[in-house]
């Protein structure tokens, strides 16, 4: 796993008359967890998608990579950005978004097989992630047979199986109850920042923000404030 910095400057993204991002600057360093918080429609998911190369901003630059070899994400072709996402980034979505007809192990191994690794090798590597995430024994289960928390842990395993340096998470605990939410967040933090990976997480939940190193608040596409995570619950900002 390589360490990757993300440096975004002056990001602007418009959808018709709506400005989703208005000259946003953002940075995340290796091993850091950053929560992006804001109300619905504030632009936080657009910011996450821009940083991950899923959508291209209309203006601004996003530099990603090791300090010695930084690349401009906005200048990459669609297929190059797609490859970056597959090999260097990992994603965890609100509903897990695992492939329902595949088993848990196949879901986790799929990114490796897509990268050209053999089936045996992919399955062996994927299987090693189940123990640390406390989902051992669920490898052959279909996604519909898993609880919400178990499915999210499988999604976390899938996000890190390629050795991704940056994990993007979009409301990863949004569909879980309070207790499961805490467990899943712990698993996510342990397997990301605990391993030197960067975690960028979009959330409504102040308790999630409080467990991150840093929280950035976005309102109407503008980044308002950055504060240490442990201040979020105290100020009650969401």
């Amino acid at each position: 796993m390589t360490s990757i910095d993300i440096r975004a400057r002056g990001l602007v993204k418009r959808y018709g008359q709506t400005t989703a991002l208005d000259h946003v600057d953002f940075a995340a360093s290796p091993g850091e967890s950053v929560a992006i918080m804001g109300a619905s429609g504030s632009g936080k998911t657009t910011l996450l998608h821009s940083l991950a190369g899923i959508v291209l901003p209309d203006e601004g630059s996003i530099l990603v990579g090791e300090p010695s070899s930084v690349v401009e994400l906005t200048e990459m072709s669609e297929s190059d950005r797609s490859e970056w996402r597959r090999t260097r980034f990992g994603f965890v979505f609100q509903q897990g978004m695992l492939i329902p007809e595949l088993t848990a192990l196949e879901n986790v191994a799929l990114p490796l097989m897509l990268g050209g690794r053999s089936r045996r090798d992919s399955f062996a590597s994927a299987s090693t992630l189940f123990g640390p995430l406390r989902i051992d024994g669920l490898q052959s289960k279909r996604i519909g047979q898993l609880s919400g928390g178990q499915a999210q842990r499988v999604a976390i395993a899938r996000a890190q199986v390629t050795g991704a340096s940056v994990i993007f998470a979009d409301e990863p605990t949004g569909a879980l109850d309070s207790a499961t939410s805490k467990e899943v967040l712990s698993a996510l933090l342990e397997s990301t920042t605990g391993q030197g990976r960067t975690l960028v997480i979009v959330t409504h939940d102040p308790e999630v923000g409080a467990r991150c190193d840093r929280v950035v608040h976005i309102v109407d596409g503008t980044l308002l404030a950055t504060e240490p995570g442990d201040r979020v619950v105290a100020t009650g900002r969401a």
């Binding site: 959808y15 998911t45 657009t46 998608h49 991950a52 899923i54 959508v55 297929s79 797609s82 490859e83 970056w84 996402r85 597959r86 090999t87 980034f89 994603f91 979505f93 509903q95 978004m97 492939i99 329902p100 007809e101 595949l102 196949e106 799929l110 990114p111 097989m113 897509l114 053999s118 089936r119 279909r142 996604i143 519909g144 047979q145 899938r158």
Partner: protein, 444 residues
């Protein structure tokens, strides 16, 4: 009172917007194609039943065979279209549930709506049938073109078929809506894989034995009605056996594929088939018996052509024409059915597809897996029965097939062409898949 409410709600929901336009157009077009094909088949069979003279009973028997063979893929197409139109109302149905509508009302609205689309498509199909008659009339039987007027079924029969298509849609949408759970928080698809039971093989074997016993116990001198009834019964039994055994065979092949798949495309396709072997077979199985009968009919035509003369030669040529027509119609029906089913699947799975795209999974991988999940069962459904037919006939007709292989070559070209038609139907769904990603990008 509830009926009035359902009618009003159906009227309000029937106006399509945005993405739903495609999901309205597809079933309507599919209903139109199914109705037009059904009318052509019924028109052709009716004309044959009006004939008099030599070999008339043979022609009538063959017409019965063709009708039985074609009813399955055409009804499958109509059912697929109905299920698509029922399933596509997911979001609006969920809103109705949020507003406090009972499940029975939601079901009533869905059925009314999809039946309305079916009726509209069927009426369009009558127009399509009328427009195609001059062309279809060029088909030659007994040495002369059939003619457009001979294939016209008349207004009463046309209205009857429109009503039948609407009825099939009504029943299918009732079945289709049962496959999903409409809750106030949305529509949830089934999450557990259905099992294909081995008992099917036993039931299949019993059906075959009973069919043979019934065939042997019927008096062959009983005239055309008895012969036609026996043939229809045997074909019906074969269809039943295929519907029992087909999913099992498809499942076994997919299990082996999933266990050893070395590429993501093969793994995804195999798992997709295993997710619903019965549904997979239902979509393509309509060509199985057609392919088998086409080979048997084609070989019989070869034998007649080699050994016969005069009327026998004419009959052989007509069997060949009938076989090719039956193949083409059944593959077109399956092609349309596959197109409609795939469009429904793309829309059902749009959130997963969008997520995989975000993960960096190449869209080409998703598309190829989708194609493989259809074409592999289709190859099994068409080539395996055809191969069995050739093997069964080799002892009796081996020499004839070597010296006069034209019929078999024609059938082979027909089957390969049919598979190509289905492949084209799959390609035709690419814009629907592309629109899913396009819509996401503008929504992001």
């Amino acid at each position: 009172m509830r009926g009035v409410v359902a009618l009003r709600l159906a009227g309000m929901m029937i106006k399509p917007t945005g993405v739903s336009k495609a999901t309205v157009a597809l079933p309507v077009v599919a209903f139109a194609v199914a109705t037009a094909m059904l009318l052509i088949v019924v028109g052709g069979a009716s004309e044959i039943f009006r004939w008099t003279g030599a070999d008339v009973d043979k022609y009538r028997s063959l017409a019965v065979v063709a009708v039985v063979l074609l009813v399955v893929p055409i009804v499958t197409l109509a059912s697929s279209a109905a299920r698509l139109s029922a399933r596509r109302r997911d979001d609006r149905l969920a809103i109705l549930r949020l507003l406090g509508a009972r499940p029975a009302l939601v079901t009533a609205v869905t059925v009314l709506e999809s039946t309305a689309y079916a009726a509209a498509g069927a009426i369009l199909g009558v127009a399509l049938y009328g427009a195609s008659l001059p062309l279809v009339g060029f088909i030659e039987l007994r040495g002369a073109p059939l003619g457009a007027s001979a294939l016209w079924v008349g207004p009463v029969a046309a209205a009857g078929i429109v009503a039948a298509v609407a009825a099939v849609s009504c029943i299918s949408s009732l079945v289709g809506i049962r496959g999903v759970v409409v809750s106030p928080l949305g529509v949830k698809l089934r999450t557990t894989a259905p099992r294909v039971r081995w008992g099917r093989l036993v039931v299949g074997a019993v059906v075959v034995v009973v069919a043979i016993l019934v065939m042997n116990s019927i008096d062959r001198g009983g005239g055309f009605i008895v012969i036609a009834a026996v043939m229809a019964g045997v074909l019906g039994a074969l269809l039943l056996v295929l519907s029992l055994v087909g999913p099992l065979v498809v499942r076994l092949v997919a299990v082996a594929e999933a266990r050893f798949a070395s590429s993501p495309v093969r793994l995804l396709a195999a798992r997709k088939i295993l997710d619903d072997p019965k549904g997979t077979w239902r979509a393509v199985g309509g060509v199985a018996l057609t392919s088998f009968i086409a080979v048997v009919g084609g070989v019989a035509a070869s034998l007649s052509a080699v050994e016969g003369q005069g009327d026998a030669l004419l009959l052989a040529a007509d069997i060949q024409t009938g076989v090719v027509m039956t193949l083409v119609i059944s593959f077109v029906a399956v092609g349309c059915s596959v197109g409609v089913n795939q469009a429904a699947e793309i829309l059902d799975r749009r959130q997963i597809s969008i997520s995989l795209d975000k993960l960096g999974v190449p869209r080409s991988v998703m598309e190829r897996a989708r194609y493989r999940a259809v074409l592999m069962p289709l190859a099994i459904a068409s080539l395996a029965p055809a191969g069995v037919g050739v093997l069964l006939l080799l002892p009796q007709a081996g020499a004839t097939l070597v010296t006069s292989p034209q019929s078999l070559v024609t059938i082979a070209v027909g089957i390969v062409g049919g598979i190509a038609i289905v492949a084209l139907a799959l390609l035709a769904t690419r814009p629907v898949a592309a629109s899913v990603f396009r819509d996401e990008r503008t929504d992001a």
